[in-house]
Each structure stands twice: as structure tokens, then as C-alpha cells.
Amino acid sequence: MKRKNNKELLSKLLMPIVAIVVALVIGAVFIGIAGKNPIEAYSALFRGAFGTPVAFFTTLGKATPLILTGLAVSIAFKCKMLNIGGEGQMLAGAFAAAITGAYLTGLPAFIHIPITIIAGMAFGGIWAILPALLKIKRNVHPVISTIMLNYVAVNLVRFLVSGPFKAPGETTATLPIQASAKLPFLLPAPYRLSLSFLIALICVVVIWVIMNKTVLGYNIKAVGYNEDAAKYAGMNITKTMLIAFIISGALAGLAGSMEVTGSLGRLYDSFSGANGFDGIPVALLAGCNPFGVVLTSLLFSALRTGATTMQTSVGISKDIVQAIQGIIILFIAAEFFFRHKGHLIIKNMIGNKLKRNKKEAA
């Protein structure tokens, strides 16, 4: 029994590892084409991500929003909905936290911080309701509606930050949040690891419990696995999808809110919710497993952190990392083939040959 589990785990890990290695090799080819030494580039990348304690904790810190957006994508994808709207939901959450963090005064930290967190999650969740409803009521592909809402969110937040909520002064940003809304550091400067990292890890456990130990999680997986069967079993498909999507949005909103309260301190007009999109490769590479999400977040965060060093010291554009992520995803999408169909096709080829041989013999 245990042996079987080990074997299963190994086969689960194999594909992601193959995907990462092949993607890095293809990345190396592009680096080579650009006339740089790939080994030099990758070692700079590794140094930048793990070379010093500060680098290591930067990698952890940058993994925080990825863990949350990765969880967000995971839970929706278990319900067969791809939430590409993490960017908009993150922005909504960041805005909510920036406003509640700056304009509520005189609160003790243990009340003020939870308020910013709840506000962020609520705004993120609300921003996800519309695409969920469009999917349920009108069968509009959530990929399209969430993307549209991303662009709306980007423009809306830019407007709010540069207009009605702009703090006086040169920078285009909201008022700095109150001291009582700031998330404390787990590790102080120079490491600067925020409490947000711990909160993200708690979310991992919570989502794992929801997915594996609750009726809701069972329903989500059932709807994702076979919508018709779930319907016949008497499950409320609409409600399950809606809840899964709202949780997804709330997690992305939390990611945005803690970017403001844990590191930025205010919302700038240049705030990017790009981490919302990055949650997709993170979740898919992890097979939508919450604990796997932690590992893949660390991987992508390391790539990201290290890429900056690679760019400055070797002169390789850090955007290559994005391309590498794309290749990883393509491999994951093709996984079914490698796992289930590769040998089938070979079998078919042999079978056809046998048939042909028989025919020829006859």
C-alpha cells in the first residue's frame, strides 16, 4: 500500500519536473541565441534567488502573493473554471485595503489589520461574482469575462488613485496607511519577511481542509469532475460554482490587500496585479494541490527574484522567465498525452502494423 502511494507520488512529481527541466533547456537555447552564456545566466539567476540570506527571504516574500493567487486559481479550476481575473481581483483587494488602512483611524492593530484583510477579501470576492454569474446564467466563458474585468479594474483603480483618492503631493498614490494597519514583520530588516507569508501558509492549510474534508470541497470536485453526474446526484451546481469562484476571488483579493499592508504601505497607480495571472502557472504546475502550490510559488518566485540579478549581471532580459513559465504550462497542458496516451498511440501503431502484417500474410 505504502509502496503504491510512493509510486503515485513519484509519477505525480515526474511530469512537473520534466516540464521545468525542458522549459529551462529551451530558455537556455533562447539565451544562447541572444548571444549570452546560458550557464552563466542560470547561475546568476540561482545566486540572485538563494545566494544570500537576504535573497532567500526576498524569494519567500515574493512567493506570498503567488501562493495566494495560486490557491485562488486552484480552487476555481477544481470546479472547471479558469480564473484569469486574478489581476482585477487583486487590484480590487489592494484598493479596499489601501482605503480601509488609510482612512480608518484610532483603531488598535489587532482590529485594524483584520479589517483590511476582510475588506480586501470582500472586494476580491465581489469582483469575482460577475464573471461567475455570467458563466452560470449566460454561459459566457469566464476566461473572457474575467479578462474584460481586469482591464476595467486596472483603469478604474488608476482613476481612483490619481483622482478622488489621490494623496496630496508628487506621487500618484493613496494616502499612506495608518501604522495600526501595517502587517508586522516576522523577520525584521534586512530580511523583511512580513506576517503575510505566514497568513498565506495558513490559507494553504484552510483551502486544503476545505477541498478534502468538507462537503463543499467534495461538491466542488464533483462538479469539476462531471457536471452532469453531479447534477443527477442532486448537487446545486450553480451554487457550488459561485462559491468556488467567490473564494477564488477572495484569495486573490487577499493577495492584493497584503501587498499593500505588508510591503507597499499605500496603493500606487503603478500597482500591478500581474501576480494574479502568475497564479495560473503556479496552480497548474502544482496540479491544483494546495501544498504543491507552496512549492511551485517558491519556484516561480525564485525565478522572478533571480531574473533581476540575471538581468543586471549578465544582461539577459528577465522576461525570458515569463517565456519559461509559458513553456512549463504548455507541457502541463499536454501532460495527459504523456501520461495516458503516449503508450496508447504506440500500442495502436503496433496494432495496425500487426493487422497489416496479417493482411499481407493472408
Partner: protein, 307 residues
């Protein structure tokens, strides 16, 4: 251009709609055969980059157009391999292509010019001089990019194929019921590859329009969600080429409105909100009357061959 002009609005609408028409009609073609190509966005940005690069290295913008078509076709082939041959999730594969297209074009930009943001200006194809001598309307027609005329011709061909040829019937059968299609001897995978690669070429052209028709350089993020708007246009147009063209003009109208309002003094609507108008309009349309339309039955569903 301080005053609101209907004439300018119409011209700008057509200009803004050109890349959407190309991308969305390509999308219709692909979805008719049952492959949803959400990765169009990635193919547009890659096409825009390759268009610029082709023109930059050869000095001939038409080589750039060709390069854009090739990269679109190549990315669509990858999408085809993953989602047709491997039976992978088409949304996931498309997401990979979007990351790949965005990442590689930004990487390429920095490798070529040593900076982010935008490329050097290159030789572009902004006007169609052949039409200049036509009486009365010649000047107006010639001011449009040749891409517009290429688009019109290609869209007419797609329309003809879909509705007046046996190939079109095969494509639609494959998209509605691949099992039946295979039973009657249609090569399901072949048709799907053909359709998705066509949509990739169209998306590549749409990208080339951005860098060589509308502008004369490549800018990071210049696709600006047009691939997704195009997919919205596919749905709004109820999976028909003519519907997609109309929907593209609709989006184009909003983009044109936004551009014209931006240039006018004392417009009470802030610039950022004007910019989100096409997206909001599309959401409203998707949420109301048009949303209920039904796409090809087997769209987005991988088909695993029996033999």
C-alpha cells in the same frame, strides 16, 4: 481635431476594428472546428513583434508581415499539438501561449534594442497608395492601411469556405460532432489543425497591423487585450464571420469614441474610464441579449481518435 466629427469617428472605427476583425474571424474559423483559441492574445503580441523585427532586419515591411504570419502559424501549431494531438485543456494551453508570446517578445525587444518599452521606428505600411487615383473616394480609401483590404479579402474567403464549400461543411461537422465526422470519413484532427493554424495566421496578421499598420514600431503590451476582445466578438457575432466583423466594428466604435473624446476639451468623463469603455460595453453585451447564443457543440472539447 477639437470638434466632434462623425467622419473622423467612422474612419477611426474602421481603423480600430481592423485587427479585431482579423483576429475574431480567425477565432470563428477555429471554434467552428471545435478548437477554442484563447491564446490569440499571445499570437497577436508575437505577431506585432515579429512584424517589427522582420521589417527592421530587412527594411521591407512585407517581410515583417510574412514573419508575423509565420509566428502566428507556429504558435497555433503548438496549440494544435497540445490541444488536438495531446487532448490537453485548451484554456491551459492558451494561457501557456500567452505567457510565451508576451515573454519572448519582451525578451526579444530587450535583446534587440537593449531597452524595454518600445522598439526603434521601422519601415511600416501605413497607407494603400494604389487606390489614391480612384476618383472622389480615392484619398479616403488610400489612407487606410493595406491590412484593411487584406482583411476584407481574407474574411470573404473564410465566409465562402464556411458556407459554400464541402470543406466548410466538414469544418462545421467536426466542430458540432467529431464522432459523426470521423464516421463519415472526415479527418477530424487534420481539419482541426487546419482551422487553428488559420486562426494563428489571422492573429499574426492582426499583430502585424498593430506594429506596421497602425504604428511603425513595437511596444510592449500593444496588443492591450485585443485578443480577448476578439474572442468576445466571436461570441457576440454568434460564431459567424459576418457577425464577428459587426461585433469588431462595435468594439472599434467604442475605441474610436474614446480616442475622440480624449482629444476634446472639457469632457466630463475621466480618461481612465473612457479607456475601459470597450471592455464594459462588451461585458454588457455578453451579459444581455447576445450571451445566450450557442457555440459549436464540441468547441473546446478534445477529440480522441478511435483509430
Amino acid at each position: 481635431m477639437k470638434e466632434f466629427s462623425i467622419f473622423v469617428l467612422i474612419i477611426t472605427t474602421i481603423r480600430m476594428a481592423t485587427p479585431l476583425m482579423l483576429a475574431s474571424v480567425g477565432g470563428v474559423f477555429s471554434e467552428k472546428a471545435g478548437v477554442s483559441n484563447i491564446g490569440i492574445e499571445g499570437m497577436i503580441i508575437a505577431g506585432a513583434f515579429m512584424g517589427m523585427a522582420g521589417s527592421y532586419y530587412t527594411g521591407n515591411p512585407w517581410i515583417g508581415v510574412l514573419a508575423a504570419m509565420v509566428i502566428g502559424a507556429a504558435m497555433a501549431t503548438i496549440h494544435g499539438f497540445v490541444s488536438i494531438t495531446c487532448g490537453g485543456n485548451q484554456s491551459v494551453s492558451s494561457t501557456g501561449l500567452i505567457l510565451l508570446g508576451t515573454g519572448l517578445s519582451a525578451f526579444g525587444l530587450r535583446s534587440m534594442f537593449g531597452r524595454a518599452g518600445n522598439s526603434d521606428p521601422v519601415k511600416a505600411l501605413p497607407t494603400t497608395e494604389i487606390l489614391r487615383d480612384i476618383p472622389v473616394v480615392g484619398n479616403v480609401l488610400a489612407d487606410f492601411s493595406p491590412f484593411l483590404y487584406i482583411a476584407i479579402i481574407l474574411i470573404a474567403i473564410v465566409y465562402y469556405i464556411l458556407y459554400h464549400t464541402p470543406l466548410g461543411l466538414r469544418i462545421k461537422t467536426v466542430g458540432e460532432n467529431p464522432k459523426v465526422a470521423e464516421t463519415v470519413g472526415i479527418n477530424v484532427w487534420g481539419i482541426r489543425y487546419f482551422a487553428v493554424i488559420t486562426s494563428g495566421i489571422f492573429a499574426g496578421l492582426a499583430g502585424a497591423y498593430l506594429s506596421l499598420g497602425q504604428m511603425n514600431m513595437f511596444q510592449e503590451g500593444m496588443s492591450a487585450g485585443r485578443g480577448f476582445l476578439a474572442l468576445g466578438a466571436v461570441i457576440m457575432g454568434r460564431w459567424t464571420p459576418h457577425g464577428a466583423v459587426l461585433a469588431s466594428l462595435f468594439f472599434g466604435l467604442f475605441e474610436a469614441l474614446q480616442l475622440q473624446l480624449q482629444m476634446m476639451p472639457n469632457v466630463p468623463i475621466p480618461y481612465e474610464l473612457l479607456q475601459s469603455m470597450p471592455y464594459i460595453a462588451s461585458l454588457i453585451v455578453l451579459a444581455t441579449a447576445f450571451g445566450k447564443s450557442r457555440g459549436p457543440a464540441a468547441n473546446g472539447v478534445p477529440y480522441l481518435k478511435r483509430s
